[in-house]
């Protein structure tokens, strides 16, 4: 069965070749991945995604709900997903802050869902129309307790579409919230994109129970660390709680062993697969003495800077993190062993810089190149930082 309804989605979008914004591409990617429920609250610079979903979802048998706030939005997509429908919300910093408690709940209840954060300049309401990469650490640590998320970061409109599909696949595969950490520049940028052909992109569906309702144990994986997920209303009865729970789903809050086993499994289902989840782009790395490590929109300036410096004969390489979380420590460790200097430009005062430094240790010099205020680094600024 074609759960993505490809033909209907394509008809609703209208054309395969588009000059589209990043915000539109998140919506198109979601629909192509089979997303049929969106709950959200408008916020600059993410609103266009909600706008597209509100126009297209009703035409293809899906539902769009504009909620009273982002707390409720996150709650709504968790509920819809547990009922068996792929679900997404799109927001920016202030909304992302409100969503944190329920992101923890989605982790604890192992609910597949996709949250797109079109980052804007914070903290608080900050600079609403200006881009930033200031929520990168919040993506990992924003909710309380020990937990793991998967977070990807696109640097173009085409990749915004492709990675949104990937986010849905990973959410379904791992039964976990997956974050697309993008920014206002990519969100509002327009580029030519091509929608993938039917059958030319992978679609993963959550594993549903193979056992009869009476024999199904909701939080006991049959193999590996990810349990099967029964849709609400399909005859299976599952007790969902944010409390520490036994494999049956029923709370057990004073048993150290049950808590340790549960949280360890939930974290390890992601962290065990760090290498499988790692996606990076490398250019000119073979003989690189200096390496620029970047992610998201900043990488577009980094790529230009690297080509400028190569034209001058400088041995500079380019590493772009597409997977932000789980952090690809091993890739950075390897680069630390071969390169002399690593430059980390970010649109914040230094966040991934510390992760890079931790992975590299004292093998190479790690240099921070922060920039805030809503303006991208220019290639010249990045190149100049390496010439110092």
């Amino acid at each position: 069965m074609d759960r993505t309804g490809y033909d209907r989605v394509l008809k609703a979008i209208g054309k395969k070749q588009l000059f589209a914004q990043g915000d539109e591409a998140y919506a198109y990617g979601a629909l192509l991945a089979g997303c049929r429920f969106f709950a959200g609250y408008p916020i600059t610079p993410a609103t266009e995604a909600a706008e597209v979903m509100s126009q297209l979802l009703p035409r293809i048998g899906g539902a769009y709900v504009q909620m009273e706030d982002e707390i409720a939005s996150m709650g709504a997509i968790i509920g819809a997903s547990l009922a068996g429908v792929k679900s997404m919300t799109v927001t920016s910093g202030p909304g992302f802050s409100l969503m944190q408690e329920n992101i923890g709940y989605a982790f604890m209840t192992e609910t597949p869902c996709v949250v797109v954060n079109v980052q804007r300049s914070g903290p608080s309401t900050g600079q609403p129309t200006e881009p930033s990469q200031g929520d990168i650490m919040q993506a990992k640590w924003g909710s309380h307790g020990d937990y793991e998320v998967i977070a990807l970061s696109p640097n173009s409109v085409q990749e915004s579409l492709d990675l949104t599909i990937e986010c849905f696949n990973l959410a379904e595969k791992y039964r976990n919230p997956v974050l697309l950490m993008t920014d206002g520049e990519v969100g509002h940028m327009r580029e030519g994109i091509t929608l993938p052909d039917h059958g030319k992109y992978e679609i993963i569906e959550r594993a549903r129970p193979s056992k009869e309702p009476g024999d199904y144990i909701p939080f006991l994986p049959e193999s590996g660390k990810v349990p099967q997920l029964a849709d609400f209303g399909s005859g299976y009865h599952t007790y969902y709680t944010g409390l520490t729970h036994k494999p049956s789903g029923l709370p057990s809050t004073d048993d150290a062993e049950i808590h340790t086993q549960l949280i360890t499994r939930l974290c390890e289902k992601i962290s065990d697969d760090t290498e499988k989840l790692t996606r990076v782009e490398e250019l000119y790395m073979d003989d690189a003495e200096s390496v620029i490590v970047s992610y998201g929109i900043t990488s577009r300036a980094a790529a230009y800077a690297v080509k400028m410096l190569r034209a001058e004969g400088k041995k500079v390489g380019y590493l772009r993190l597409i997977t932000i979380w789980p952090f690809p420590d091993q890739v950075l460790r390897r680069i630390g062993e071969s390169a002399r200097r690593i430059l980390v430009p970010e649109m914040n005062l230094g966040q991934i810089y510390y992760k890079v430094k931790e992975a590299v240790g004292y093998n190479a010099e790690v240099i921070k190149l922060p920039k805030i205020g809503g303006i991208m680094h220019s290639p010249q600024e990045i190149a100049a930082a390496l010439k110092e």
Partner: protein, 176 residues
């Protein structure tokens, strides 16, 4: 070749839409294009800027580094950005809205031409006609097709007429 175009003015003047149409037309022309935009939280009246980078190759940096073409739709935008234009770059201003002098400046009556057509709102279509004809950055046919595709249906004829007036303004200038 990388061509960088910056359109700047007030929010509400169609700055972002003009950039978007330029990008669309470039794509239709078989080129690569990236369009970015920047504006304040106000829906009208604040400073607005739209940037388009057009190239035959993949575009890494999506923003203007040194503009090949600056389109200034108000005085503030002209004053702020005139110094950021490349040597031998072009500055195109609306003669009715901007006082500007200099060899690189082309001062053209977009608003007046639109007024003559009975609708000031189509001033940007006049500008786009003038721009494509005077710079050759993309084929006028691609720009016209984009305008036909993107403007509200009941305004297509008027916008295309305005676009052709813009082309005519550029051609007359070429002859003089």
């Amino acid at each position: 070749m990388r061509t960088e175009i910056r359109v700047a003015g007030f929010g509400g003047q169609g700055v972002v839409l003009a950039g978007r149409l330029l990008g669309e037309a470039a794509i239709l022309d078989g080129k690569r294009a990236v369009q970015t935009q920047s504006y304040g939280p106000e829906s009208r009246g604040g400073a607005a800027r739209s940037e388009v980078v057009v190239s035959d190759e993949d575009i890494d940096y999506p923003k203007v580094i040194e503009a090949d073409i600056l389109i200034a739709l108000n005085q503030t935008a002209f004053n702020k950005y005139r110094a950021t234009v490349k040597e031998n770059g072009k500055i195109i201003v609306d003669a009715d809205l901007v006082k500007a002098e200099g060899d690189e400046v082309q001062s053209v009556p977009f608003t007046k031409t639109a007024d003559d057509l009975g609708k000031r709102m189509v001033a940007n279509s006049v500008m786009l006609g003038y721009l494509v004809e005077s710079t050759g950055v993309m084929a006028p046919e691609s720009m016209e097709a984009t305008i036909r595709d993107k403007v509200p249906k009941h305004t297509i004829d008027l916008n295309v007429e305005a676009f052709n007036r813009g082309i005519k303004l550029a051609k007359q200038e070429g002859k003089s």
